[in-house]
């Protein structure tokens, strides 16, 4: 019954559809003559996201079965989808607040509609269980962010930044798509289900089969292309320039939305190998990429005095830590407990969200501050804030401590669970790999120590140094509320990390067990929706 399947799929996607619809409304509002209509744009964006949250949480009371277990074919609403949707919407609220006043009045509609489309794309990455849907969702995440970077502030810099981001992003997308095409060739269908996993695993195991090379190249190119999204070595080159050129709130968004999308997509691709991440060639690739990302990110950040560039480089290092968790893979031991220790993917999901909040908080504060009318970027600009604006200074310190991984900030819990799960994975790995995993964890810990050097420099500048010309906060409530909320969430997750961890745990639950293969009858329904979503951004 294709019609029934179609009906179910539409209600399952109501939160995403709300975002897309509000995005269209907001886009139209830009054309309004009246300034007051245009000024209402951020408010409407925010209420759209809040409505999506409400539907997601209470939709079942209205008979809207959001996230009904599965739609045949392209989308599966499992724990991972739930995690991505919830975190995307909650971070979405923060992002809207933080960038409330960002672009000029006339461009605000475009800006916020792109933000909504991007968030909708992120929410579709979570449930996608099909190469086509996954690719489209990833592009729906990326393309609006290029535009947001370009629109975020006037002048040539954001334009240059958007150009670099766009060109390199298009190249990376092409690499990913090339990998996808080979994976499709090996599996014989676009679905990422149990059958696909079987075929890929068979192809990888048997070096003589014709599909072997296709599978390896497909896998490698897909993952490497996705490294662009999380800004890991070797596709990290763009990140500092993009962050520096974009307005601070957009840079904060870039630290979360593409990163989570990339991480989830990498999960889905690596799931195809049955998580053979602790041995064989995949192990070495991940190992090397992780080590290089951590190290290169940190050493580049070490020499920076521009905080935006520093945070960008440190983002590379954080991707490196996340790759350690991916290498550890989902639940390694059979024993189930409430903690995420030993569950690498859950730890990574937890970490992405915490990193996203702390990063957004730091950029929100940078965005709030002005030095002689220009945006605040360097260490000198933030010096001596404690004396004049203690709340901003303390929030900045909190964000930095979280990024640094200082106990008891949630950043510490995140790192602890990632490294802990890597160690747990080492216990189950063959002897040779065991030692190398331990080495990886040691390198990661050393890198965390190295990272402390530059985070502490910011903290020292903010708290200890004096400045004759301190930065002034712009008298805007919404970004300040956004920054305060970031700080508040960090405190909550420091002392009550369990709900987020449990959500992460649920998300990684199904990663080892791919969805069963189903008949591909209703693909057309999925395709119809995807078209609807994809065509809404008008270019």
């Amino acid at each position: 019954m294709p019609s029934a399947a179609f009906a179910i799929s539409i209600t399952s996607l109501v939160p995403e559809l709300i975002l897309a619809a509000v995005g269209c409304v907001v886009l139209l509002m830009t054309q309004a003559k009246s300034g007051s209509v245009r000024r209402a744009v951020p408010g409407i964006t925010l209420s759209g996201i809040v409505l999506a949250i409400l539907i997601l949480r209470f939709g079942h009371l209205l008979g809207i079965s959001v996230g009904a277990d599965s739609i045949n074919g392209g989308l599966v609403f499992d724990g991972l989808a739930g995690f991505v949707r919830v975190s995307a919407l909650i971070l979405g609220v923060l992002i809207v607040l933080v960038s409330w006043v960002q672009p000029a009045d006339e461009e605000r509609g475009e800006f916020f509609s792109m933000m909504l489309f991007s968030l909708a794309g992120l929410m579709l990455v979570g449930p996608s269980a099909d190469l086509i849907v996954l690719f489209l969702a990833l592009e729906l995440v990326s393309i609006p962010t290029y535009i947001m970077v370009a629109l975020s502030r006037p002048g040539p810099r954001p334009l240059e930044s958007a150009t670099k981001y766009f060109y390199l992003g298009a190249m990376a997308a092409a690499i990913t798509a090339f990998g996808f095409s080979y994976l499709y060739g090996v599996t014989g269908g676009a679905a990422l289900d149990a059958g696909a996993v079987d075929r890929i695993v068979d192809a990888l195991r048997d070096p003589d089969s014709p599909a072997h090379n296709l599978a390896t190249i497909g896998l490698l190119l897909s993952v490497v292309g996705l490294l662009f999204k999380i800004a890991a070595v070797p596709l990290h080159f763009y990140i500092a320039d993009v962050y520096q050129g974009a307005a601070s709130p957009v840079a904060g968004l870039l630290g979360f939305v593409p990163k989570l999308a990339g991480i989830v997509a990498i999960f889905k691709i690596i799931s195809l190998t049955g998580w053979a991440t602790t041995e064989g060639a995949l192990f070495w690739i991940l190992w090397i990429v992780a080590v290089l990302s951590m190290t290169i990110g940190n050493v580049l950040a070490l020499r920076q005095t521009n905080i935006k560039r520093m945070l960008a480089y440190s983002g590379i290092a954080h991707s490196g830590y996340m790759l350690v968790g991916i290498l550890a893979g989902p639940i390694v031991a059979g024993e189930r407990a409430e903690s995420i220790m030993g569950d690498g993917t859950a730890a990574v999901l937890y970490y992405v969200v915490i990193y996203g909040i702390a990063n957004l908080g730091a950029f929100a504060l940078l965005g709030l501050l002005r030095v002689r009318g220009r945006p605040c970027e360097t260490l000198r600009d933030v010096a001596g804030l404690l004396r004049y604006y203690p709340s901003i200074a303390l929030l900045m310190a909190l964000s930095m401590f979280t990024l640094m991984g200082m106990p008891p900030t949630p950043g510490f819990w995140g790192k602890l669970s990632i490294f802990g799960s890597a160690l747990a994975a080492a216990e189950f790995a063959p002897a040779l790999y065991h030692d190398w995993i331990i080495a990886l964890v040691i390198i990661a810990v050393l890198n965390s120590a190295l990272a402390a050097a530059y985070y502490l420099r910011v903290i020292a500048a903010v708290l200890l140094f004096e400045s004759d010309e301190p930065a002034e906060p712009t008298p805007r409530e919404a970004p300040m509320i956004g920054a305060l909320l970031c700080g508040f969430l960090l405190l909550v997750f420091a002392f009550y990390p369990k709900p987020l961890m449990r959500l992460g745990r649920d998300a990684s639950d199904r990663l080892l067990v791919p969805p069963p293969t189903v008949q591909v009858e209703s693909t057309s329904a999925i395709v119809a929706e995807a078209t609807l979503l994809d065509e809404s951004p008008p270019f």
């Binding site: 150009t163 990376a172 903690s339 216990e427």
Partner: protein, 690 residues
């Protein structure tokens, strides 16, 4: 052993568990008011309301708690110390709110272990939380009037004061409620932080800033030991625990403590004691407390007399099973307590600053409590904590009232004869002084007498020293009282022309505290009809209070009977001390008679035995020198070393920076090369069998 589970509570436990958070909520509201720059005039409301809710909950909990606790079938006295430790019965219950930090790893058998956010309820909790919240509320109400200038306008930082006080009450309640050592440590550090912030409330005054720093640093020394003690506990206890038992929960620790060797227990006990010495300002870490009087008077009353400084006593009482198992540690406590009591009492005899006299008397009284703990009668110690909170808070607040009307002059040489100007304050102060002096039938008398008695049982010399100290306490307390209120009227010029009594909002809470200073002792005594076995024919030590605490402080067992003669002796000594003070200071002489009479000794006391100077020579200066040395090495050596160590990363960074040259092509090339390398690497790995 029969355990009747807690089903008979008046209010749900979850509601009681919200108790600490009301003041925090109030503080957050006040913080928002600060952020929104609302009028300071009303800034006290959220915090006072929050603390009020806490106080109501605290009092209800106090009466409700006995019914909630698991009842033991045999409430028999476990007399022998070592035996008690082995047969540890959990006297309360742990209420887990949520699990916080996972200690378990899934691969071992101990996978379900946590550092939880859990609260522990037993008699000790009930008593502490009741008086902490009630005294806090009184001090808060008093502060509404106190923290203003003489035109009645709020002082600068009025709202900041209330926000900090709210956070303090939250932290203190967390400290008391904590069900495991990590949460205890958290509360411990938080109250320390609040103390630091509030001592330095007048941060523009250099002496206040210095005092805040001193308090913080001296406390760090103690806390370092405390933290080591907790680490040691974790190290020793964790191997003994099973899955599902959180290794740092009180119940678990006390259950397994008996299985440790004597040496380990003593080590843990002494390390924990370090923390208590710092927090409760005991010899040799007492030096911060007199300086802490630089803070506003309500802070001195609440934090540095009634509540926070008793945290050390509370912690030792709570860790009774640990301390009871180590006689060495108990002996150390007694010795330090006796030294502290004598030292502080003698110092107090030769001071002129009212708040400092009270500070020394606080140290001295805390030392009494230490002696009680060391003599294995923690119930008496906690009883003294309880009564002391009322009369010491009362005294400090009275001193604050005098200070406010004297234009922030508190030197006894600058004024006298205030009895007509401040009639209410005089009356209240008299009650407080009598109670502190141990005047018969007042609160202080009952609790202090128990301690003196316990110390006599412990060792007669200790008992004698305690009695002498009690005499000195009565003497210096009334020296202060007479110098202030008696004699001819003299006013400092800072007081203005017409000093008058403080407003009702300050006086009313003082009457509540004064009531406490009179009757608080009666919860710890029993009315009796047996003439021969009672004090004055109808009162007998040990009462409701001790039954209430009984299960929580099984450690030392019941106090020994008899010794009623001691009560008469200590009454006589207290009255003699007061009489002596009357004779020498009754007319508030301008020339101090003791100064002439005692000569060198008086100067020694006045100079606080030159201990501050000694510390300065012995520790501060060498450490500062060491600090300078470290700073120099840091600047040259370490920085050089770091420069060398980070040379490699920096050199790498320098090299990699060249790639970040802003060229789009360059980036693309780098990415493509990276991609190629990865593909080739995979190929190579496969050929070489990975």
């Amino acid at each position: 052993m029969l355990l009747a589970q807690a089903s008979t509570s008046l209010l749900p436990v979850d509601l009681y568990a919200t108790l600490p958070f009301w003041p925090l909520l109030g503080a957050i509201f006040t913080g928002i008011m600060i952020a929104l720059r609302l009028k300071a005039e009303r800034a006290f409301w959220p915090v006072v309301l929050g603390v009020g809710v806490s106080a109501v909950l605290g009092v209800i909990l106090f009466f409700d708690l006995p019914g909630m606790l698991p009842h033991k079938a045999d409430a028999g006295v476990t007399g022998h110390v070592a035996e008690a430790a082995h047969e540890y019965h959990d006297p309360g219950f742990t209420h887990t709110i949520y699990n916080w930090i996972s200690l378990g790893d899934e691969n071992s058998l101990k996978h379900d272990q946590w550092i939880s956010v859990n609260f522990y309820f037993d008699g000790l909790t009930g008593i502490m939380i009741a008086f902490v919240t009630v005294v806090s509320l009184m001090v808060m109400i008093y502060s509404i009037g106190y923290m203003r200038d003489h035109h009645g306008h709020p002082e600068r930082g009025y709202e900041r004061f209330f926000a900090f006080m709210g956070i303090f009450v939250f932290s203190m309640a967390m400290l008391v409620f904590a069900g495991n050592f990590v949460l205890l440590y958290l509360g411990w550090e938080l109250v320390g932080l609040c103390s630091y912030l509030l001592i330095g409330f007048y941060y523009k005054k250099p002496s206040a800033a210095a005092a805040a720093k001193k308090a913080f640093i001296v406390n760090r020394i103690g806390d370092f030991g405390f933290a080591l003690g907790i680490f040691a506990l974790y190290m020793f206890i964790r191997p003994l625990t099973h899955s599902g038992e959180n290794p740092l929960d009180y119940a678990v620790v006390f259950h397994y403590i008996g299985e440790l060797s004597q040496g380990k227990i003593t080590l843990v006990a002494l390390l924990l004691l370090c923390g208590a010495l710092g927090k409760s300002a005991q010899f040799p870490l007492y030096v911060w407390l007199p300086d802490a009087m630089e803070g506003p008077s309500p802070v001195s009353a609440l934090i540095h007399a009634a509540t926070m400084v008793t945290a050390g006593i509370y912690m030792i009482a709570r860790c009774g099973p640990i301390f009871a198992a180590s006689q060495t540690a108990l002996n150390v406590i007694v010795v330090l307590g006796v030294i502290g009591a004598m030292l502080a009492a003698t110092m107090a005899m030769a001071q002129y600053d009212m708040k400092r006299i009270l500070a020394y008397s606080t140290i001295s009284q805390l030392a009494y409590m230490f002696v009680a703990l060391g003599c294995s009668t923690p119930a008496s110690g906690v009883f003294h904590v309880f009564t002391h909170a009322f009369f010491k808070a009362l005294l400090f607040l009275c001193a604050g009232s005098i200070m406010l009307q004297m234009g922030h002059i508190i030197d006894l040489r600058r004024f006298s004869g205030l009895r007509n100007i401040l009639p209410h304050t005089k009356r209240l102060m008299l009650i407080g002084c009598l109670s502190l002096a141990g005047f018969p039938l007042l609160a202080g008398f009952w609790s202090k007498d128990e301690i003196v008695h316990a110390s006599f049982v412990y060792h007669p010399i200790v008992g004698a020293l305690m009695l002498i100290t009690a005499g000195m306490t009565a003497y210096y307390t009334f020296r202060m009282y007479f110098l202030c209120f008696h004699g001819p009227l003299r006013l400092p010029k800072e007081a203005g022309d017409h000093p008058r009594e403080s407003p009702p909002v300050m006086i009313a809470p003082l009457y509540v505290l004064a009531l406490g200073a009179i009757v608080a002792g009666y919860v710890g005594v029993t009315f009796t009809m047996l003439m021969g076995d009672s004090f004055l024919g109808f009162l007998k030590p040990h009462g409701y209070f001790h039954h209430y605490l009984h299960a929580s402080t099984v450690v030392g067992g019941e106090q020994h009977g008899g010794g009623l003669w001691l009560m008469y002796v200590s009454s006589a000594i207290a009255i003699a001390g007061i009489w002596l003070a009357w004779v020498r200071y009754g007319d508030a002489p301008v020339e101090d008679p003791d100064k002439a009479a005692l000569g060198g000794l008086w100067r020694l006391w006045n100079a606080k035995y030159y201990l501050d100077e000694l510390y300065d020579r012995l520790f501060v200066r060498p450490l500062r020198g060491l600090g300078r040395f470290f700073f120099a090495t840091d600047n040259n050596g370490i920085d050089g070393l770091i420069w060398v160590v980070t040379a490699v990363p920096r050199a790498m960074g320098g090299g990699l920076r060249l790639l970040q040259n802003g060229a789009l092509q360059g980036y693309a090339l780098g990415m493509v090369i990276g991609l190629t390398v990865i593909v080739l690497l995979w190929r190579w790995l496969e050929i070489n069998g990975a």
